[in-house]
C-alpha cells in the first residue's frame, strides 16, 4: 500500500500543485467569456491586458534571464534582441528572419566574449 502511494505521489503533486493552480484561470476565462462577442469592449480590453502581460514576460526573459542564458552578458542579449527586431522589420515583418538574426548575434557575441 505504502509502495503504491510512494509511486503515485509525484503524480498527485503534479495534479494538485501544477495542474489545478494553473487550470483555474483558464476555467475562469471560460465562465467570463460567456455571452461576450469578439467586438465587445471587454474583449478588446482583455486582449490589451494579455498583450501587455506577454510583452512584460518577453522583456523579463531578455533582461532578467535565468539558467544558461544568464551566463551570456546582458549587453549581448539586448544587442541581439534589437538586431533581431530590426531584421524582422527590414524583411517585411518576417518572424523567422528576426529569430535567425537575433540568435546569430547572440551566438557570435557570446562566443567572442566568453573565449
Amino acid at each position: 500500500m505504502n509502495a503504491v502511494i510512494a509511486e503515485l505521489w509525484p503524480y498527485l503533486v503534479l495534479v494538485m500543485v501544477g495542474f489545478l493552480p494553473n487550470e483555474i484561470w483558464r476555467a475562469l476565462g471560460l465562465v467570463l467569456a460567456r455571452g461576450l462577442n469578439e467586438d465587445s469592449q471587454m474583449v478588446v480590453l482583455a486582449r490589451a491586458l494579455a498583450t501587455a502581460i506577454l510583452a512584460g514576460v518577453i522583456a523579463k526573459l531578455i533582461l532578467f534571464s535565468s539558467g544558461a542564458l544568464a551566463n551570456i552578458p546582458l549587453a549581448v542579449r539586448v544587442t541581439a534582441a534589437v538586431c533581431g527586431f530590426l531584421a524582422f522589420l527590414a524583411v517585411k515583418r518576417t518572424v523567422f528572419a528576426g529569430v535567425v538574426v537575433g540568435e546569430a548575434v547572440l551566438l557570435a557575441g557570446g562566443y567572442f566574449l566568453l573565449h
Binding site: 503524480y11 494538485m16 500543485v17 471560460l30 486582449r47 518577453i58 551570456i72 557570446g110
Partner: protein
C-alpha cells in the same frame, strides 16, 4: 475581398490546423523551449513520463519551469502552488479574448472546453492571427488541430531534452533559451496591427522590467493591468479626438 476559408469536414479543419502548426515558426520555438524544460526536469531528477504528463496537463512552459525548479529545489508544496498560479493569471484574459472568436451559432459550451485547456501563448498568438480568415463553424477543430500539433512537438522535445541533458555546451543551451523571448517578441509585434495592441505591447515592454527591477509583488499582473488599461484609455481618447 474573398470569402472565409472553409473545410469539407471538421476532420479536414483539424488536419489543416495541425499542418499550420507544423509549418509555423512556433513549432521550432516550442521544440527548442521544451528541449530546455526536458533538460531541467532531468537535472532535478523527475521521471520522463512525469514531465510528459505535466506538458499535457499544465501546458504552459513558464508554469512548468516554476513547478520543476520549485519542487526540485525542495520548496514547500503550497509555495510552489502559489508561484504556479501567479504565473498563470495571464491565461484568463487570453481565454476571454480567444473564445468569442471561436464561438459560432451552433457552438456548445462543451466544444470550448478543449480550446480553453489548449490556450497558451503560442497557440493564442497564432489563433488570433489565423482564425479571422476561417469560416466560423470550422474554427474550433482548426484551433484544436493547431494546439495538438504544438503539444505533440512539446511532448516529444521534452523527451529529447531529458536524454540530451548536460550534453549541450553552455553557449548553445543559452541560445536555446533565447528562442522563446525572440519568437514571442516578433510574433506579438506582427500580430499587433491595431493601435491599441501596439500601445499595450510597447507599454508592457517598458513597465514589465521596471516593476521587476523594483521587486514589486505580482509584477506581471500589474504590468497587464497598468499597460493594458493605459493602452485602452489612450486608444479611447484618440478615438474621441478624431
Amino acid at each position: 475581398m474573398s470569402g472565409p476559408i472553409t473545410y469539407a469536414s471538421s476532420a479536414a479543419a483539424f488536419r489543416a490546423g495541425v499542418k499550420s502548426a507544423v509549418t509555423s515558426v512556433f513549432f521550432l520555438v516550442i521544440s527548442g523551449t521544451y528541449v530546455g524544460v526536458g533538460a531541467l526536469a532531468h537535472g532535478y531528477g523527475f521521471a520522463p513520463w512525469w514531465l510528459a504528463l505535466s506538458t499535457v496537463l499544465v501546458w504552459a512552459a513558464p508554469a512548468q519551469v516554476i513547478l520543476i525548479s520549485a519542487l526540485g529545489g525542495g520548496a514547500p508544496l503550497i509555495e510552489a502552488a502559489i508561484a504556479v498560479t501567479l504565473s498563470a493569471i495571464r491565461l484568463l484574459p487570453m481565454v476571454v479574448a480567444l473564445l468569442p472568436l471561436l464561438r459560432g451559432k451552433g457552438t456548445w459550451l462543451r466544444d470550448l472546453v478543449l480550446p480553453t485547456h489548449f490556450t497558451a501563448i503560442s497557440m493564442w498568438v497564432e489563433s488570433l492571427r489565423l482564425l479571422p480568415a476561417i469560416a466560423h463553424e470550422r474554427r474550433v477543430p482548426f484551433c484544436n488541430g493547431l494546439a495538438a500539433g504544438y503539444m505533440f512537438a512539446a511532448t516529444g522535445s521534452g523527451f529529447i531534452g531529458y536524454y540530451l541533458a548536460a550534453e549541450l555546451p553552455p553557449l548553445l543551451a543559452g541560445a536555446l533559451l533565447f528562442l522563446t523571448p525572440m519568437s514571442f517578441l516578433m510574433s506579438t509585434a506582427r500580430n499587433a496591427r491595431m493601435m491599441i495592441d501596439r500601445l499595450a505591447f510597447g507599454f508592457g515592454l517598458m513597465i514589465g522590467p521596471v516593476l521587476a527591477y523594483w521587486h514589486v509583488g505580482l509584477d506581471l499582473m500589474w504590468t497587464g493591468v497598468i499597460g493594458g488599461s493605459l493602452a485602452y484609455a489612450v486608444n479611447r481618447l484618440r478615438g474621441v479626438a478624431t
